[in-house]
């Protein structure tokens, strides 16, 4: 089995909680987590609904391997319609909350309606109730965590919550769990706060015991761990440098989006890299990095635990930031750093702390600050709008003050909380927004990595690196090397990555295992744990089904093939330096063929044969 076979339905409008069996027919088709919760969402809401209205639902969901000994088996996702994009959203997080929810005996929690007053959900195994959140509403995620631990007198309580940015309506607020892990993208925290739902506090002591074939499961997971251990990326690169192992690699490749993607290499990349996090600071002699931290069940441990120098301007006299907390991941380091032109590692680490403390996505935040800096550079925004801040590229002070303003939703922070697309529209230059479907780009310039342009343009949640990471093939040579500057074979490559990723995201495992694992490594683990037969072929089909289901949701919501595009800058302005110098992204060469490979018509709509083949008709 591995599924807990139980769903908690929480009606926030009437304050009721009920349990129901998991729909196993759907589980056989959609597996769990991203796939299965998306199926529930598609069946239960109108894709045209207002994402911030009571008719949207928010689902916190685990996968069948969440809470087991499978390496990285601790993931959970938050699924809803996104206010940032108007598309389907699924944000994935590690830490411990997913496993705790599963240990309490639940596969997923479906929140519907809107509470008349702020509440939080408390779960202790079978027991679930909505409690008054008056004491935590208006508090940061860190304060909320502290208060709930104190209120319930339980140090082992696990907490997922929103910070003040979400309450203030920031469009890219996430759901923070375990203080510094996040279901970060697409504004899933904004939806949670719009429902007057502040937190989930969970304690599970029942465990996960219904493994189909325990002996085979232990053997399969042990074999999986061996593969991770012996792989150069998951066994060495990620443990040593975290995802920040990529900073210098991507910069060398000339695919480092810099200063709102005006440039493709950042002169300060080394100062904010994984290597730099190991170097002793000149000021206090300590390195930025203290230790690796693993999420639940993870044998890779790419997580970073860092400090900021106590004398750094950002935290002088602010003892709440003097201890260790979640350090920079590559995506945060890029967005807060090279995209804004800031090369002060401690300033970035502080901004990242603030993103965690008040629950907003550092990618979207950094990219929005970058867009604002370009608008400021062009004179379209002045100090009159920025609360007097000199909003220049390269200004660490502007970056860190901006983070504090977005955290509280104050002053210019309200504008920045709109996200890059709405901000650039407001100030009359929509083409300066580096977004797809309203979501900000992650850390790979698609002029230097052609396949990523197609992956961004077609990703169902808007621009995203976690929906089809062809960087693995184009730069790192996993599973085989392709030319990053060529469009040859990229439609097929993008589809293969997208489908496999959707399967990983539906399992309870972390996508980062896919640096070492293919679905051939995942299948034996799932097959030993779960009822039914789970081969790599079947998982790939599940992935394709999930992809098409999400696509159909978006089409019904009103998105069209016109939304499968990139900002003009990437299609018309050549890369300024590096190996891709002079090149644009040749999306037009890839997109029509991608639709064919997908079995979609020329408008990007899945054909009836495709829908029938995948059981979506």
């Amino acid at each position: 089995m591995a599924w807990a076979n139980k769903v908690l339905r929480v009606n926030l409008s009437d304050g009721t909680v009920t349990d129901e069996p998991l729909n196993m027919d759907w589980a056989r088709q959609y597996l769990g987590q991203r796939g299965l919760a998306s199926k529930y969402l598609v069946e239960e809401i109108d894709p045209k609904c207002d994402p911030l209205g009571p008719e949207n639902k928010l689902i916190m969901t685990t996968g069948p391997l969440t809470g087991t000994m499978a390496s990285t088996g601790g993931r959970y996702s938050v699924v809803c319609k996104s206010p940032l994009t108007g598309a389907i959203a699924c944000s994935n997080s590690g830490g411990y909350i997913g496993a705790e929810l599963k240990n309490a005996g639940w596969d997923m929690v479906i929140f519907e309606g809107k509470s008349p007053r702020p509440v939080y959900l408390y779960i202790e195994n079978d027991h679930a109730e909505l409690l008054d959140a008056a004491a935590i509403w208006g508090k940061s995620a860190w304060e909320t965590d502290k208060i709930l631990h104190r209120t319930h007198q339980d140090p082992q309580l696990r907490i997922a919550c929103v910070g003040r940015s979400a309450e203030a309506g920031c469009f890219y607020a996430g759901v923070i769990n375990d203080l510094h892990r996040a279901a970060g993208r697409s504004g899933v925290g904004t939806v949670m706060a719009a429902k007057n739902l502040k937190a989930l506090a969970c304690r599970g002591t029942r465990g996960v015991g219904n493994i189909k074939d325990p002996l085979r499961f232990l053997q399969a997971t042990e074999e999986g761990k061996r593969v991770l251990r012996e792989n150069a990326v998951t066994g060495q690169g990620l443990p040593q440098y975290g995802t920040q192992v990529l900073m210098n690699v991507i910069n060398e490749a000339g695919a480092m989006p810099t200063r709102n993607m005006r440039e493709t290499q950042f002169e300060g990349a080394h100062s904010i890299s994984g290597e730099a996090m190991h170097e002793p600071r000149k000021s206090d002699g300590r390195p930025n990095l203290t230790a690796n931290a693993a999420c639940f069940a993870c044998t890779i441990a790419c997580g970073r635990i860092s400090t900021v120098d106590k004398e750094h301007y950002t935290i002088q006299n602010k003892p709440q930031y003097w201890g260790n907390s979640g350090g920079l991941e590559y995506e945060a380091a890029w967005a807060l750093g090279s995209d804004t032109g800031v090369d002060d590692l401690d300033a970035l680490t502080y901004a990242n702390f603030v993103c965690n403390e008040d629950g907003f996505d550092p990618i979207s935040f950094g990219a929005t600050v970058a867009a604002a800096m370009e608008l400021y550079d062009l004179g379209l925004i002045t100090q009159a709008q920025t609360d007097g801040i000199e909003f220049k590229f390269g200004s660490a002070e502007a970056l860190t003050q901006a983070a504090e303003l977005v955290a509280k939703g104050e002053g210019f922070g309200k504008d920045l909380g709109l996200g890059s697309k709405r901000l650039c529209e407001k100030y009359g230059r929509p083409e300066l927004s580096m977004t797809v479907k309203g979501q900000e780009f992650p850390a790979y310039d698609p002029r230097g990595i052609q396949g990523m342009g197609l992956a961004y343009a077609t990703a169902n949640r808007g621009a995203c690196h976690l929906r089809g990471y062809t960087v693995a093939s184009e730069i790192l040579g996993i599973p085989e090397k392709t030319d990053p500057l060529s469009t040859e074979g990229k439609p097929e490559l993008v589809k293969a990555f997208q489908d496999a990723t959707a399967a990983f995201d539906s399992s309870g495992l972390c996508l980062f295992t896919s640096f070492a694992w293919t679905l051939d490594d995942v299948a034996p683990q799932l097959d030993a744990a779960c009822e039914g037969e789970w081969s790599a072929e079947k998982l790939l089909e599940v992935g394709e089904r999930v992809w098409n289901l999400e696509r159909q949701f978006n089409l019904t919501a009103g998105l069209t093939s016109k939304d499968d595009t990139l900002p003009k800058r990437l299609l018309e302005e050549g890369a300024n330096v590096g190996p891709a110098q002079g090149k644009v992204n040749e999306l037009g060469k890839m997109l029509p063929h991608y639709y064919e490979v997908r079995g979609w018509d020329s408008d990007g709509v899945p054909t009836s044969e495709t829908r029938q083949r995948l059981g979506l008709a």
Binding site: N103, G207, V208, N292, G323
Partner: protein, 173 residues
């Protein structure tokens, strides 16, 4: 020779594989709440530390037990709880100075580490070597080696005294 669990907190990443291995071996379920070994997170310090029974020779829990439900396994040295004898009085949980004997609400008995009969699952599951099962006489050997090396007049230590050494020197002079 008897073996003992050697715990090295500086290597721990907080993944809880040990807790799952322990609960699975003992209870047939992946459940950190039922683990005999616990990993503690110290957030502000950025550290994790695994902790479990050290198998005291003169075990407080064993001496405190009024029904002699805790016995020595001669092969492993482990102090094991005889479930059929234990009456769940919890006196051992009070006697243990380290808190490593705990009451299980589900069974009405106490639970503690029994070294899995000489093949501890936590050590096998630990991905970073923070938990190993080594000769009990040698658990301190590596730490001794590290200290011994500090006193060694190597070229490197002459060329670049450590920050700590400099501070110590400055304080002394």
């Amino acid at each position: 020779m008897l073996q003992a669990l050697k715990l090295e907190p500086e290597k721990c990443t907080g993944c809880l594989q040990c807790e799952m291995a322990c609960s699975y071996e003992n209870e047939g379920v992946f459940n950190p709440a039922k683990s005999r070994i616990k990993v503690f997170a110290f957030h502000d310090e950025g550290r994790f530390a695994p902790y479990t029974c050290t198998q005291c020779d003169q075990a407080w829990c064993m001496h405190a037990c009024p029904v002699e439900a805790i016995v020595v396994n001669a092969a492993t040295g482990a102090k094991e709880v005889l479930e059929s004898v234990c009456v769940g009085c919890k006196v051992c949980t009070i006697a243990c100075p380290f808190g490593t004997v705990n009451y299980s609400h589900d069974s009405g008995k106490v639970i503690k580490c029994d070294l899995c009969g000489g093949d501890p699952w936590c050590a096998k599951a630990c991905p970073t070597g923070a938990i190993t099962y080594v000769a009990s006489d040698d658990t301190g050997l590596e730490r001794m080696r590290a200290w011994a090396q500090q006193g060694l007049p190597s070229a490197a230590s002459f060329a670049a005294p450590t920050e700590k050494a400099v501070q110590t020197y400055n304080r002394a002079s």
